[in-house]
Symmetry: none
Subunit: 337 residues, 3 copies
Amino acid sequence: GRGPELSCASFGRIMRPDDANIAGNVHGGTILKMIEEAGAIISTRHCNSQAGEPCVAALARVERTDFLSPMCIGEVANVSAEITYTSRHSVEVQVNVMSENILTGAKKVTNKATLWYVPLSLKNVNKVLEVPPIQYARKEQEDEGKKRYEEQKLDRLETKQRNGDVILPVINPEPHTVGYSQSSLIHLVGPSDCTLLGFVHGGVTMKLMDEVAGIVAARHCKTNIVTASVDAINFHEKIKKGCVITVSGRMTFTSNKSMEIEVFVDADPFVDEPRERYRAVSAFFTYVSLSKEGKPLPVPQLLTETEDEKRRFEEGKGRYLQTKAKRQAQMQQAAQQ
Amino acid sequence: GRGPELSCASFGRIMRPDDANIAGNVHGGTILKMIEEAGAIISTRHCNSQAGEPCVAALARVERTDFLSPMCIGEVANVSAEITYTSRHSVEVQVNVMSENILTGAKKVTNKATLWYVPLSLKNVNKVLEVPPIQYARKEQEDEGKKRYEEQKLDRLETKQRNGDVILPVINPEPHTVGYSQSSLIHLVGPSDCTLLGFVHGGVTMKLMDEVAGIVAARHCKTNIVTASVDAINFHEKIKKGCVITVSGRMTFTSNKSMEIEVFVDADPFVDEPRERYRAVSAFFTYVSLSKEGKPLPVPQLLTETEDEKRRFEEGKGRYLQTKAKRQAQMQQAAQQ
Amino acid sequence: GRGPELSCASFGRIMRPDDANIAGNVHGGTILKMIEEAGAIISTRHCNSQAGEPCVAALARVERTDFLSPMCIGEVANVSAEITYTSRHSVEVQVNVMSENILTGAKKVTNKATLWYVPLSLKNVNKVLEVPPIQYARKEQEDEGKKRYEEQKLDRLETKQRNGDVILPVINPEPHTVGYSQSSLIHLVGPSDCTLLGFVHGGVTMKLMDEVAGIVAARHCKTNIVTASVDAINFHEKIKKGCVITVSGRMTFTSNKSMEIEVFVDADPFVDEPRERYRAVSAFFTYVSLSKEGKPLPVPQLLTETEDEKRRFEEGKGRYLQTKAKRQAQMQQAAQQ
């Protein structure tokens, strides 16, 4: 065993502009991520503190947590974690987060969280291992911990039975249709996404577009895919810091070995500005599917259903044939030289 | 002026696991982002090379580019950029990307891209400044550049007129309805998102959930919002590396000064695995809207339309009142001590 | 005042795939960045501990540091920092880094570093403020600190006078020559790279320097390489948000089992400012090549061609022999105790 000093730990980090919204308040999500990292470290450490099968503590549950005061850019987040209860197969960790203004010395409790972890074997991820028991200073601590354990266990069982609700309608569940693979993501434009002028770098936009197009392609053919080409992209409209951008993609055309995906970028300048959502960029990405040896694989044909889908397929075919002809002409020219 | 040596630049970066898919192929989007960064630097530098108003070069267009061979994790991406043409108000940059396997020394052309930048004044972002002309080694270079300039100008005009198509139906464009603010994002699970077991860190999932919930809240009230609390979250199902996760959120309840958002996380293990999409996590996030002074602002009431929406609103109200009662009980208890 | 408990602090973080090379060894640059963040927090905290003008501690110098054992993905980096000396205008911070395998409990010292910070006024960045004195447990601690302070002050003055050298491109270099492995990268300074004063964190700069030095080393020996040590680095010139920094490296010396790489950081305040490109930092990094079992491999000898290259090789040899002699003296001293 490695002794009892291991049952608590503390960590700190300076909050950066990317951790916060445009008003300078650190995102709750940034704090939740730090809390969970601290919990994972301390519980994995504890579960491996006795000789036995090596394991990794996996998060099973986070209790309700309240954010008591906002944290700001430039402040230090101090995260301290302590193991407060162990059952046979789970560990309860209490994590406290304090914001510290290192200029004024002011410290505030940001939030307190309780997390439950379960040790999974490193060799067999489906095997839950036993947790070494901790020592309690007082008997009541163990009793109260046991009560919390029983309560959360009940709640976990309950929610497991709640059946799955869906937010966005699955437009077409038929494989290889346009609706089957279409995808979209939203992204809150942060400071690091922007130039000195406060507008999104074109490269950041293109990276998000490729991300969505890649997911559309992978959903369609369910194999390893790579970007083969990107058609000309025009950036008519700037996108400002603080906007939410929606990047959406749908498949327009498939040849034997390639897929064409149309991607739209819409900007939603919803804070501070009266302007409505607008189309900022659109483009066509072409993907190919690769085998494990890196050879191109055949691609399932896109099933078009509506008139619009059929028209877009024909337009995509036109672009495909045009590009093919151009490439052949270049190769002949090169061969003649 | 700072002289002609500034019209070209080259640099390298090692490709990391997060730059690539699970097969180890670097995302096209990672490469596009590097290309654009090189283009932005070289053209901003050029446009500021003569005394005058300071400016930042903004991306106006990227010409079609083909990805000629895949790049892999551990390889060095060598990006070199050169200014090849200047018109009165725009700069053409040619960027070449080579992958270099530093272990074998093998180098391959990954792709070549042509980008057009426009200098915008740092003081007035709507003012396009003049571009200092470059010197051409041969007269033909200028003529060919001018031809490329005219061609892309035509294409830019054309696409500007193409009207906006929509992929995902806007379910309900009426402000303050559930459909108006509901949002979703997709995220491809990368290596840095995962534990040693190859499953997503709970903290990474919670950060994405908070991101979506925050966007829903901001769309609803169009002000600066912060996370006030998160209800207990249970992690029943693990999410594996390489999955695509869809995180979607909808507003369920509003009180005078708070908004409750339900968030779902669905995992799509679409490569390599026969398993269907499954619900991995769900949770309720509560947000408040803050004024510039950090004071809570009133929140517009959520407009419920369907029976389900009304039921969820009532359930949310139940949770709200329960939490409020619990908090008051705690405060009374604290006051008595 | 906020009392003496604030003069030490500790931090931890799990190492992720992006923190490491493809062999799984954490980059020296990742560790340097964590060290500097810890140092910046503790010294900013200390310098604001007495009523007075608010200030931010800026990194002025890092003493030579040796990387004693490699850290791996999945391990926890434990960073602890302590203020060990204060002069009127500077703070000495001692930082220790331990790698902890949370599965086996094994802990190893990764490295120890000494950093010097200077408090700059938040209102006027060119004003250096006074540092509140610390209490020493024993008089000798203060005397030894004063000696270290005087030594580093001399060295800082010296390097300030060393003139700026430039790395020029070589067209078709022969393997193992200086030109063959020399490398550079450019980075646009974003908001998250900067302190509250709007200047780049020293840790961010060191991480980029290690990245370039690592590419130079890998290009030379085409094997898995790790940072062995970093010579003292002086930060004479601040780098502002919005600058483009060019980081370039060239090999200066090889022994049988190590490579010395000189790295330059040049800042280009290309928008907004009349100032010319300037040399912000320079330093020497030493790398070793490791076999798959983690054993040091022989390194191909550097082929020097020009007079300058031969001179730099001899200077590198001098530094190498001096370090070796110092280490042997320390080992003998330790053996005698």
